[in-house]
Symmetry: none
Subunit: 186 residues, 4 copies
Amino acid sequence: MAQVKKEDKKKRILNTAMRLFAEKGFRNVSLDEIAREAKVGKGTIYVYFDSKMRILEESAKSVFNGFTESFRLVFERSESIDEFIDNLVNSVVENISVKSKIMMLFHKESSYDREKYIQTISDYKETLKRVYERFLKGSDVSFEEFHSVLTGIFMAIYMMAENLGEDEMKKMLKRVLICILKREKG
Amino acid sequence: MAQVKKEDKKKRILNTAMRLFAEKGFRNVSLDEIAREAKVGKGTIYVYFDSKMRILEESAKSVFNGFTESFRLVFERSESIDEFIDNLVNSVVENISVKSKIMMLFHKESSYDREKYIQTISDYKETLKRVYERFLKGSDVSFEEFHSVLTGIFMAIYMMAENLGEDEMKKMLKRVLICILKREKG
Amino acid sequence: MAQVKKEDKKKRILNTAMRLFAEKGFRNVSLDEIAREAKVGKGTIYVYFDSKMRILEESAKSVFNGFTESFRLVFERSESIDEFIDNLVNSVVENISVKSKIMMLFHKESSYDREKYIQTISDYKETLKRVYERFLKGSDVSFEEFHSVLTGIFMAIYMMAENLGEDEMKKMLKRVLICILKREKG
Amino acid sequence: MAQVKKEDKKKRILNTAMRLFAEKGFRNVSLDEIAREAKVGKGTIYVYFDSKMRILEESAKSVFNGFTESFRLVFERSESIDEFIDNLVNSVVENISVKSKIMMLFHKESSYDREKYIQTISDYKETLKRVYERFLKGSDVSFEEFHSVLTGIFMAIYMMAENLGEDEMKKMLKRVLICILKREKG
DNA sequence: TATGAATGAGAGTTCATTCAT
DNA sequence: CATGAATGAACTCTCATTCAT
């Protein structure tokens, strides 16, 4: 039970931090604020995380893992690319604005430590690769393009999320995905 | 000539700041750094800009104005939507990574001062509106969607720009634009 | 005990600041200096005070409260106006130079925030009012005059304090008080 | 005429500075502000004054000289101490609030350069001495007390000036002067 | 003589991190 | 494990002073 409680506290800190980072940006959130909102002592944060940057890293990892998990699930359940797109859109739009903000922050803040960045996204990339290999290999879409566009699109949604409802977002995302993944040769 | 020199210095500060902001993010760049790289005294920055935020505002304004100008030019020179897309892609990709980063930073940092944000982008939006009204009115794309996607795409390119060459970027951007602007009804 | 220690540190900062403000003026004292002399970190000051101005406010409050307390005590113990004057002089001359300087600084620095100023001195003024009503009501001294002169005299002592010993100061203060408080009609 | 114009400019700077210092305090007035209000270039100030402190010194000198002049005149025209007091009050109350503020600022700001302070007030003190020697020598008022109280009173008026009209001020000042200068032995 | 663009030292303030309890 | 008081490095911003014109 102590173990459970401990995990509880770490999760609480991480979730609070993710929410605040997404709302205000990395530098605009102080550890005081995280501690206050997570209802733990400021020192406690350092029991679970080495540094503030470390919290963002774990946030990003969690988001990427979530994406990876979604992709894996959707991938396993989809017989055709159309089905894949449909399922992906539904699965991915959930909490998309928080998730995409975290991805973006992480991308920006860790730009000086490429190694850490690459390590954190490698799992995510690997899953994308499997999707790519099943559905797109041999098309004129390169993996790098596939990865960039997909990731970029999620980020773009950060902007759109404020002006569009969830339904519109799904419709739009679907259109763009179809356009990228199913386009005619040339 | 003094006037010229003066403008020179302001431009130098602004360009340096834009580059650094794009590289590291707004909060990660100090005025000391801007001053050092622009080879001016720290105090000089305050001769031309009221505050650090003001530098970002003028950066964003300059970027938005650039986009607006591109759109206007491309718009005037294009007879069809195909031509428009072709011209837009070529005109817009230039320096896209710096520009899109600035747009994103400004979007994030000014999120607490909506009024200033809206004022800065209003010109840009108005030009988009004219494009929309010429080519897309009556289609099932709403102006809000058009604006959101287009702006989002430019920002998405921020991610892609690091992994893709200019040619690939153009190809991709073109595909997405076609997909958005030319799609079948429904 | 932690509580005691905490109060200790705040007191130490406040006392150091009051001494330095009195010696050099508000603007001529830096937070670095206060921190150094109070033997605390610069950041520690901000644990206890919101801003530099806030330190002056609390300094002033403490001085005014001291005056008020002195007045109240002296007032309660004095049967006649002569006794009142005697007791007041003795009680008020203690640390008069620091106290009067703080009053003056606060008067000057808060002149742009009248509300805060009035709030801080209201207690002090109220006590003066009770003295006035007991001893001077019906005389040709108005309350405003009484208040102005008394406060002014304390400030004037700021000048004198450097050239006169405590005994001389008491003698002088007594003379002026008698002159104000006991003068013949007209 | 060039000479006249030059003097004009220096006077304009000095008068503007005195007014602003009195209104806002020494440190709260910037040279930019003085230059703007005096309608001269910022650099021009340094043609006439070595430093900002120098402006305050000359302001103080001018105020002290004014007092000295008043004292001398009043002194020469007065046959008795009563007449002296009457004349002094009338002559001294003019512009008293600006004058006393300047004196106080100078007193505070130059406290670290005693020599300059003493030099600036020596003339003023000498005139006071002549008054003292004519009217008070042999009384139980020491010169130091006389000087301190008189100067202090002028400063105290800084406080009072905001709450009292000129007539009340004169009445009050007269009372205090009588009290100091005419008191019974002991 | 007159100017104001340019400057950098130093101000007040914030906050990630440490550590004694 | 859990805490929050304490810290100082680093931030943005101000302004007296200089100097080329």
